[in-house]
Amino acid sequence: MEASVQTEILCFHCGEHCDDAQWLEEKAFCCYGCKTVYEILSSNDLCEYYDLEKNPGTQLQFVQEDAYSFLDEAEIRKKVLTFDSSTFSRVNFYVPAIHCVSCIWLLENLQKINPAILRAEVNFALKTVTIDFKPQLVNLCSLAKLIASLGYAPSINLDSDDKPVSGKTDTSLILKLAIAGFCFGNVMLFSFPEYLGLEKTDDQLGNIFSLLNILLSIPVFVYADADYLTSAWKSFKQRQINIDVPIAVGLVALFLRSVWDIFAGIGPGYLDSFTGLVFFLLIGRWFQNKTYESLAFDRDFKAYFPLAVLRKSGSEWKSVVVHTLVEDDQIKIRNLEIVPADCVLLSDEAFIDYSFVTGESKPVQAKKGDLIYAGGKLIGQPVLLEVQKKTSQSHLTCLWNNEAFNKSSESKYKRLIDRAARRFTWVILGLSLITALYWYFTDASQVWLIITSVLIVACPCALALTAPFTYGNMLRVFGRHKLYLKNAEIIERMAEIDAIVFDKTGTVTHGHTPEIKLQGALTHEQLIWIGHLASYSTHPLSKLIHKYAQKNGHVEVTEFKEIPGKGIQGSIMNRQIKLGSAAFTGYTGNSIEASSTVFISIDDDIRGYFKIKTSLRKNIQKLIETLGTTCVALLSGDNSSDKAEMSTVFHPSTQLLFDQDPHQKLAYIRNLQRTGKKVMMLGDGLNDAGALKQSNVGISVTDDTGIFTPACDGILQGDQINLLDKFLKLSKAATSVVRWGFVLSFMYNAIALSFAVTGHLTPLVAAILMPLSSISIVLFTTVSVNWIAQKELGTKLAHAS
């Protein structure tokens, strides 16, 4: 036997697999688009593009002829161009496809392709390219088409800019820092004579120095510390006290007292401490921003909604994760699946349930060409949609976190922190007052410096930071392991769970290696009908039936309806077809043992049934054993044919209940909660939405569908379900890290305050300690969470691969 080596042909331009390779100069390309780009680059001697990175291109989306013709209209031109004259124009395009060094190189060498382009400059961080060109030789539309034809289609957004404007805020902080530093240095310089001892005869000089100090301190007071003052003022207006109030009070007190001292001739004031204080506070703030940025747990980049959708690629439908969708992708959405991004309807009509977005559960009818918004749920027949905007993870998460879906119990720690933070600030103000009085009577010269130290060093920010950073990092860890939680409060609730309830179909079992047998007489044509009807539903059993009856053929189905817990029905060629449970289809015979049965009825006449035996998920046996008695019940909408098998899997004390409809599942959970248990429910979100909502934590387990019910608290990828016990352990660990963080921040405050009150702390040292404390808390929580996660899950990954 000859063994043949399978070599995959990868496209030279984009690196994608070539089904039907097109060859040019001994290089393979996956499509005409990639080949064309190569030809353009090669003829303009720009092949260095391929030297800088391997397969740097992206597969071209088809660009229509008139895609950018709107750019030539005068109104729009004005909006898009940053500079315009008859001989010189400059345009700034946002190009989301910029992702590597080759992209920068190619876009900055555009002038080689079209001589009307003078120069082009890329800003990699913002993914923009600024092109200077001669408008009398090339118009904006051709420019856009040129870069689109190279694979870098510009994304033109005329109303608001969706690119992050992170540079601006940083600049103002740096300017404030510069001014504070400048003035601090000079004030120190002019205070030197004071330190070294001016004689009485040089009074005049002393006054001049003090005046200079005041002049230098004014910009610091007015501009550099403006953030603190305005924040404190705003909270005063709302009759509240926030974290910045003690700092603002300290700064104002120090400045005014110093000015008074100088004008009344009492002394030289404390302007050196004042300017130094502001300088170090700003450094601390800048440093904090940098630390937070690098530790940021931006879910858009690390954790994705594990929802999948069918996307058309070529002539096939492939299941892809929603975050990979781009504009102009064609997707197919089935019954009860969520629309992941803003789309235009390609099919004739669709019924969309916008309850997730607007709260209104009455389905809205959409016609061909209508815009369908992300978050809508499709009811009825599957439809074809064309994506208009990329999926916005943050938008979907925002909808999910809507008030309407919140469970009544609020976060225990959040309330604790809010109350603590408020009381804390009052305590600090009170403490500083007492200290002031004490020192006034003991040694009046020290008063102002000491109260400022007290006001500055006490930092409730550590309190406020512990919980968000710990939970945020834990969310990121979970996300990396395919458990996507709605928000950080869920972790707290997960730590308290002491009872777990499983749904059977799709959660404990799945359809990866099913055994399907058809009993009954069906014609070839009827089998095609049934397969087609089953493809409209996303129920695990329907998917299996569809795969079994996988025969091509176009069939018209009308009046499609899916009744959760019962079955699906539709009308094909004027015959009413029903697929579902015995009661739904009207089967009155004996129950069939040892498998899930889906009955088939055509025109209310039972024609046969499918015997489907699904297998258990891999490793779930081990998980159930580890959970032991915590796993309280298995609720299944199926019949009890699997009882024997399930009993061997589950602990003898676990209740196995079958033939449960959605209401019974909900009632069971409620009863369990009444006995004082905190319940976690794992289901597939199809017919246990109510139960998921009722439970303390409801997790929806998905495989590769877009089923999403907002009532759940988290989405878990099916093949990661065996990590459930680790996830619970991690949530408990997270809450203990938060508690330790509180303890640490209290200890820090107690020690620092005792030093300040006894007069051993200068304001400058206090200003340095403050950001140090918050950074150390942040580092502590981040390092703890990551270390614990590594211990629990890190080694697991190594074994799994």
Partner: protein, 63 residues
């Protein structure tokens, strides 16, 4: 001793000029993008390639 005051004023003005220059450089936006210039300077100049081509052409003629 009054000369000190004059010196102070002069040095302060010079320092203020530098502060102004710093302010202007921040505003000019040269610090907005710190990544791309680091990549850009590593690109090779086209002139080198042209020289190679000329060299290879010369070699062909010589043959």
């Amino acid at each position: 001793m009054t000369i000190i005051i004059l010196l102070i004023l002069i040095s302060l003005s010079i320092a203020l000029i530098f502060l102004g220059i710093f302010y202007w450089s921040m505003r000019s936006g040269q610090y907005d993008d710190t990544y791309t210039p680091s990549v850009r300077m590593l690109f090779e100049d086209k002139i080198k390639k042209k020289e190679n081509r000329d060299d290879s052409q010369k070699r062909e003629i010589a043959k």
